[in-house]
């Protein structure tokens, strides 16, 4: 086994606040943060950022924040909230960012579990949620908020406007500066940098403790891997509670000194993306899918000439684009034609999407459809895949430039060792490996062995020849069919999801003789189709129940069956019966995690009547489902769903006939 030299031995800056001080010296006048506010991009240099963070840290001291306190941060991506994390670190406290769209109960669990004394809220909405849970969660002492709007009438005896806190901090400079310097100076690589709660596809969320060493070494390695440099731009729009956002917008940004841009609001994300034109970009596959769907829908409405030009050049780009990007041989004629295409189609399209300046883009979290992946690659966007998790400070494997494919997740990241256990589960060990789960020694022990190897819970294998890792499914989801064949639901679900009409699918069949599936249609894609064909519908439910929609979905399912049948190992996973669900799977109803991964067990329990019906022989089923609205109220959705049989292929058909 290779022994890596300890990369942390040579690090001069051992904490994020120390990196901030370094950046304020080294890149004083360069832009560190930008936020669109009042229609203009407001910006802060590294020197200004340091001043703001310092004022906030002094204010925190004045409020009595102690070493080791937990500070919860809830809100959308805004510079001041990022600063509050660094300010908390500066006084020796530990920031705990939370998902801003979490409902009050979810929030209560996390706030109580970490024992947060301080909560920094983005706006009134978040303050209201915290006040709601405050009766149950007694540890909360002070609430701070960023946006003053609507806050005038609240009882402020334990509530502070963040600007006031900073003003107080500045006023107390002489008194508290010494203490601040001392507290910041104490921070070593072993101190906790941040605590992040994993969304948890099963059970309650767990607090992952990441040390300064985890974050800084990982950021250093990954920044060097992709040659990130000052002057790069990213758009910070993913939830702050997600480890990726912490690594990109704080870890790598502070290590490299690049600029973090915060959008004006969630709805303006795409406009802001275009205005900023980031050079380094991360998005889950869903975002890329949505972008592509939007482009395709708009092209359907374009004039015939434009459509033909677009289709012609996109067809050409699919052949040549990825090869050009990988630096492989391309004939001079093709190069010339690609340049023309770039002038007419690719350039303007990239510009519209805001992806023109991208040097490195990553997608991760879920499998991305090969067609979607190739679409972006063929445009000349260096889209790559990485594989990671919170416990690893993101990076486990990633794709080096020139070795990019849609079906692998790349080679181990620098400093990371990966091995495959006998049952196929992937294990890793790296400088980014988390310290522990907070107040949960049992889970820590079962996840991380004494030698530092961490179980990912995913099953995968290294491809021979290339050394690239391929992930099949969650290890615990991989099961056996009744006849002993392998059952890998994700494999089939991903194939289904690659159709633009299908947003989500859940396949069942573990321990059974055949597979069945739930399907969610994509309201954008199917809705636009309905509009173009003059088909009236008033709700998701109605659209999902239309006969022509079901026909289309059936075609998709059968196409998938045909392709699954090609794989001898997984041919048993073909879908025999399916239905289109009457509601979209939703995180508010607990059916998905906040990062939009399906919670299989919960879906299985909640819709058990539907599963029984799929294994029965009726053509339709009546069902009632409880739904939670955005404001927390509950309602009941009633529907009669049609169940369809799908054609199956190859081996599986023969087996059916034999029965």
């Amino acid at each position: 086994m290779t022994v890596f030299p300890d990369p942390s031995a040579t690090l001069e800056e051992t904490s994020i606040p120390a990196l901030l001080a370094r950046n304020a010296r080294r890149y004083a006048m360069q832009t560190a943060y930008r936020e669109k506010e009042f229609g203009i991009w407001q910006s802060w240099t590294w020197a200004e950022t340091q001043a703001e963070v310092r004022a906030m840290a002094l204010g925190f001291l004045a409020l009595g924040m102690a070493r080791g306190d937990y500070v919860a941060i809830i809100g959308r991506n805004r510079p001041a909230l990022y600063w509050s994390m660094v300010a908390a670190q500066s006084v020796g406290a530990i920031p705990v960012p939370l998902y801003q769209d979490a409902v009050a109960e979810e929030m209560a669990y996390v706030l109580d579990h970490c024992g947060a004394r301080f909560v920094v809220c983005g706006d009134q909405e978040q303050v209201d949620k915290v006040l709601e849970v405050q009766e149950k969660v007694s540890c909360i002492e002070e609430i701070l908020y960023l946006d003053k709007r609507g806050m005038r009438k609240y009882d402020h005896s334990h509530m502070n406007w963040l600007q006031d806190v900073m003003r107080e901090g500045r006023a107390a400079e002489t008194r508290l500066a010494g203490e601040l310097v001392k507290r910041t100076g104490e921070l070593t690589l072993d101190h906790t940098c941040v605590m992040l709660y994993t969304s948890g596809t099963t059970g309650k969320p767990k607090g992952v403790v990441l040390s300064n060493r985890n974050i800084i070494v990982t950021s250093k390695n990954s920044s060097e891997f992709d040659n990130l440099k000052p002057g790069d731009e990213i758009l910070a729009y993913l939830p702050m509670a997600w480890v990726g956002d912490f690594i990109f917008a704080i870890g790598q940004a502070y290590w490299t000194g690049f600029c973090v841009n915060c959008p004006e609001s969630a709805q303006t994300m795409l406009t802001d993306l275009r205005e900023i034109g980031p050079t380094y970009y991360f998005a889950p596959p869903r975002v890329f899918e949505n972008m592509l769907t939007t482009v395709m829908i708009r092209m359907e409405d374009a004039s015939p000439i434009k459509r033909r030009v677009f289709n012609h050049f996109m067809g050409f780009a699919r052949k040549v684009g990825p090869r050009l990007l990988d630096g492989k041989d391309v004939s001079a004629g093709d190069k010339l034609k690609y340049a023309l295409g770039n002038l007419l189609v690719y350039g303007p399209l990239k510009d519209t999407l805001g992806l023109r300046r991208i040097r490195v883009a990553y997608t991760a979290g879920e499998a991305i459809g090969p067609e979607i992946f190739d679409f972006y690659r063929s445009l000349g966007i260096n889209l790559k895949q990485l594989y990671g998790q919170t416990e690893a400070s993101v990076f486990i494997t990633q794709q080096p430039d020139g070795e990019v494919r849609s079906d692998t997740v790349g080679v181990p990241s620098p400093g990371v060792e990966v091995r495959i256990a006998e049952n196929g589960e992937v294990f890793y060990r790296s400088p980014g490996t988390f310290e522990s789960y907070y107040k949960n020694a049992e889970s820590t022990a079962s996840t991380k062995d004494p030698e530092g190897w961490v179980a990912t819970g995913d099953a995968g294998f290294f491809e021979e020849g290339t050394g690239h890792l391929r992930i099949i499914d969650r290890a615990k989801d991989v099961g056996k069919m009744a006849d002993g064949g392998m059952f890998a639901p994700k494999y089939v679900e991903n194939k289904l999801k690659f159709f633009p009409n299908i947003l989500e699918s859940v396949v069942f069949g573990n321990g059974r003789d055949r597979c069945v599936a739930f399907i969610n249609i994509d309201l954008n894609a199917v809705g636009s189709w309905a509009e173009r064909n003059n088909i009236a519908y008033s709700s998701y439910q109605e659209l999902a129940g239309l006969k022509r929609v079901l026909d289309t979905i059936q075609e998709h399912v059968e196409t998938v069956n045909e392709s699954v049948a090609q794989d001898t190992m997984l041919a048993g996973c073909q879908i025999h019966r399916f239905l289109v669900l009457h509601k979209e799977l939703d995180a508010d109803d607990g059916e998905m995690t906040r990062t939009r991964k399906v919670r299989r067990r919960i879906v299985e329990e909640k819709f058990s009547d539907l599963i029984d019906a799929l294994y029965g022989d009726k053509d339709s089923i009546y069902t009632e489902t409880e739904v939670t609205y955005e404001d927390g109220r509950k309602g009941v959705l009633k529907a009669t769903l049609e169940i369809r049989d799908a054609r199956v292929f190859g081996q599986a058909t023969a087996q059916m006939a034999a029965e």
């Binding site: 009042f38 229609g39 005038r152 009438k153 004006e264 609001s265 709805q267 303006t268």
Partner: protein
């Protein structure tokens, strides 16, 4: 708000009151004295008197044809009553044209949306700043001196309102492409852009779904809270009126039949009759 201070002095003897939720309501901002409005032989408003205080949300309600919109039009100077007088900021208001009234710090929204459909949201709201622009035609045409400076100041004010009403995502969208609920919000934004002392809202909630209504309610309360804007609104949705307003005037067939807090009005016999329907002699 400009002008508010001196008016408070004018009505110094009247100290206002404090609402149940602890908001301080100031002295009388505007007083309607024995207003009668006729259109030919039809009497739209018959001898009505009531007052509006600084900082309050004042509702005017009543069945269809009760004369509510006419009343609002009297306040905004669009109609001139044949009898009675309007006392504003302590002085009797002379006969004015609507634009002159607007300059005195009264802004309004309309029952039927009256936006410039082809213009962007931003430009529509900018029109609300008209009274804050002093540059002459030459300066405007040459983009010189004051014109340039004023444009920046006004854009800043408009952006604050866009931020306040959370319509950043439609800033550059032509109004014609917006759904009804958002158009109503843009109208409110334009009225707010004038930085009014008194904001008149003519059925701000009409034709909205529950979610849009909730949003609108929150914005009206936030405006009142944040800018201290005195708000006069006409509304049919009783739930909204009772929740939002500090005091309510009830009209029926051009006459005032009730005036007081929501609770008082709710228990007023005449009001119940008007709403449940009683044969008029």
């Amino acid at each position: 708000m400009s002008g508010q201070g001196e008016a408070m002095r004018d009505t110094a003897t009247d100290e206002g009151y404090v609402t149940a939720d602890g908001r301080k309501i100031g002295g009388v901002a505007m007083e309607m004295k024995n207003i009668t409005l006729r259109f030919g032989g039809v009497v739209a408003i018959k001898d009505i008197s009531f007052d509006i205080r600084w900082g309050e949300v004042r509702a005017i309600i009543g069945p269809n044809g009760a004369g509510k919109s006419s009343m609002l039009n009297v306040i905004s100077g669009f109609y001139h009553p044949q009898e009675g007088e309007v006392i504003y900021k302590g002085y009797r208001r002379p006969r004015m044209r609507p634009y002159q009234v607007a300059r005195t710090g009264i802004a309004r929204t309309f029952q039927n949306i009256a936006l410039f459909e082809g213009m962007s949201v931003l430009d529509n709201i900018m029109t609300g700043r008209l009274h804050h622009m002093k540059a002459n035609l030459f300066q405007q045409a040459m983009w010189w001196g004051r014109a340039n400076r004023e444009e920046h100041e006004n854009r800043e004010a408009v952006e604050k309102i866009i931020d306040f009403l959370e319509i950043q995502h439609i800033r550059k969208t032509p109004v014609a492409r917006l759904p009804y609920g958002l158009k109503k919000r843009v109208e409110l934004a334009r009225a707010l852009a004038a930085e009014p002392s008194i904001l008149l809202l003519d059925e701000p909630m009409a034709g909205m779904n529950v979610e849009e209504k909730e949003d609108m309610c929150r914005f009206i309360l936030d405006v009142n809270d944040e800018f201290g804007t005195t708000t006069v609104l006409i509304e049919h949705d009783m739930g909204v009126v009772m929740d939002l307003s500090d005091r309510v005037v009830v009209m029926d067939y051009g006459k005032k039949i009730g005036d007081g807090t929501p609770d008082e009005v709710r228990n007023n016999e005449d009001v119940i009759k008007a709403y449940l329907g009683v044969a008029h002699e």
